[in-house]
Symmetry: C2
Subunit: 377 residues, 2 copies
């Protein structure tokens, strides 16, 4: 007998209550019944985002929400500033190029995070930049970017600041209004303890002028249509993924019961335990400044994580993730965001130890588990 | 006590087995386990579409699939032919305009369907048209367009033929390859007995040359990325809506058990019963050539369907739909697609009679029900 655990940095485990809410009978969306569900969900998301304005639900993945943050802001030929240092910060640059933007990159290695000084210099060199696209939590390397001091710079500039907080929301604090961030995107299958299928995007008041003037083609991802649908009676412009929205309501209720500060503190504890285990196993983190939702570490010399990951899954039922891009095979990533308890963390580390041992890495068995346990106890 | 029935033309009722499949524990998508699910689902969709080539799943609503059929085909300035005669055929024209296309319309009234002669004349007048965007089943009016003779014309022209079969798939036959249609779009919450959240798009071999040359910006809806993801190991380019795909597998298995021909015949019977009831109640259909998935009829003089629809829902638990656009308040629409039995049809007609009676329409009570029953018996 083995139980299945999902420690990937998305999708993440979803509580049974949330999955069952997804199985509720179908209702029609153009009803006050569904509008009331949407209103509750949007109110919950506003708390998660730290936003007074409505958070729009994009029926799609987090990438669709990211594209909405480009397609509604950038017209062809616009200059944008990106800071590629991992798969998802590179995705910002890719989307911007797909929309005909001139992309200026802050030069970084994978695993690094852009500093306020680097952003300040980039703005100074490119005062005509339309927007700056950054990543709060870079899922591919586990690197954290401190948004607050950067937003302090951008809100004094003409450039809008857009943040991929896909694996940040529900893990790290997000205070969009207080910090002065212009666009924040996220997705359902991360800190929100939900299956994938919903993207989220929040928009600052000052962004709308740019959005209204933006000439890039968009229809399904048109924020003006989303704003109109919401203002016209708490509706979405197109048929929403009703069952996922119903499930999200349940997930957000569970999150509000736990309390946002408690949720952030739990993720900090889980991350500290994972890092303590990695260090105790003599391994190296990928990120200079690690996030609290995923721990990415280099595998020991000679161990291919393309083999370690399926071994742990097939033998112990514990699914972690390998590396992406040029880190494929070289690193492993343990997701600990959303519906992950301290007990789950021990399961992940124990299976990691068994997998590493089986692949020939020499270390004192139990060193990682004990370190995690001590960090949590 | 009242039970709730959903007779809207999307979303439609979903079988309990499908809803429970949606509640299955979360799994990771970059696994052979999920690829196997996707392969089974795509094989089922290929049968529904009559397509040898893979059908791509767009994580979004049917509108996202429609936008994919424009964004991947039309470059700014391209000429396209549309045939707006309802809300969804107008949507084709709206999306094309959003992408900077020059839209040539075949002139029709709402409720009419374009004829092969009209399409032939439009092609002759516009030999430089990039594509023709038509609607097999116009959900807003219940009008059916016979695609086969039109495809016979377009496949001899340079213009690609794109079909919105959102409420057609799983209701009417679709023989994409045999007919020679180039792009077929659909969505999950219609004939497929599924909750909303998935769009589908199938692409003919000859379309790819146009798609590869298309200069419109797209990322999330990029068909080239979908093709690459599929060819590279039965994957989607971005995180799929895993729970919805799991549910779709269950729904498609149920559909294959019933058999496609039986499904089409059942919808024909349901539609015949609904039309017989409408006629027996002395009412008029909206469409000249009606579809089998929804029956749209004008309400009796002086009866506002903006009142009839909530009355039937709140008092009898039976949710039908009103009109859209300029038909708002004037027509009602009974959806009978997907998971609808002959017994359900009687429920819908009985509630319609009670609602009409309550709103003061004079008719012999039971006339519609009896006509539906006779048509089905």
């Amino acid at each position: 007998m083995k139980k299945n655990y999902l420690f990937t940095p998305g999708p993440t485990m979803a509580p049974h209550e949330v999955l069952l809410a997804e199985a509720a009978p179908m209702i029609h969306h153009r009803t006050s019944q569904f509008s009331a569900i949407l209103e509750e969900v949007v109110e919950g998301l506003q708390k998660l985002f730290g936003a007074e304005e409505p958070v729009y639900i994009v029926m799609g993945s987090g990438t669709a929400a990211m594209e909405a943050a480009v397609a509604n802001v950038c017209s062809p030929g616009d200059k944008v500033i990106c800071a590629p240092a991992g798969k998802f910060s590179e995705r910002w640059a890719d989307i911007c190029r797909a929309y005909g933007c001139e992309v200026v990159n802050i030069e970084l290695e994978w695993g690094q995070s852009p500093t306020p000084e680097q952003v300040e210099a980039a703005i100074a060199r490119n005062p005509d930049a339309r927007a700056i696209y950054l990543t709060q939590s870079e899922t591919s390397t586990g690197a954290y970017t401190d948004i607050e001091p950067i937003a302090e710079l951008t809100r004094r500039s003409d450039a809008l600041l857009a943040i991929d907080a896909i694996t940040g929301i529900g893990v790290h604090p997000c205070k969009m209004d207080e910090w002065g961030v212009d666009l924040v995107t996220s997705g359902s299958q991360k800190g929100c303890m939900m299956p994938p299928g919903l993207g989220f995007i929040a928009v600052s008041p000052r962004s709308w002028e740019t959005i209204e003037a933006c000439s890039s083609p968009r229809y399904y991802l048109d924020l003006l249509a989303m704003r109109k649908g919401w203002a016209g009676g708490s509706q979405t412009p197109f048929t929403p993924a009703i069952s996922l929205v119903q499930a999200l309501r349940r997930a957000l209720r569970m999150m509000m019961d736990e309390g946002l500060e408690n949720i952030h503190a739990r993720h900090a504890r889980l991350a500290e335990a994972a890092r303590a285990a990695v260090r105790a196993l003599g391994l190296q983190l990928v990120a200079d400044s690690p996030v609290n939702g995923v721990t990415a570490a280099y595998a020991p010399e000679g161990i291919d994580t393309k083999k370690l990951v399926p071994l742990m899954r097939d033998k112990y039922g514990v699914q972690i993730a390998g590396g992406q891009g040029h880190l494929k095979g070289k690193i492993f990533r343990i997701g600990h965001m959303g519906y992950v308890s301290e007990e789950d963390m021990l399961v992940a580390i124990a299976a990691l130890e068994k997998g590493l041992k089986e692949m020939g890495y020499e270390f004192e068995i139990g060193a990682g588990l004990l370190a995690a346990h001590k960090a949590l106890a």
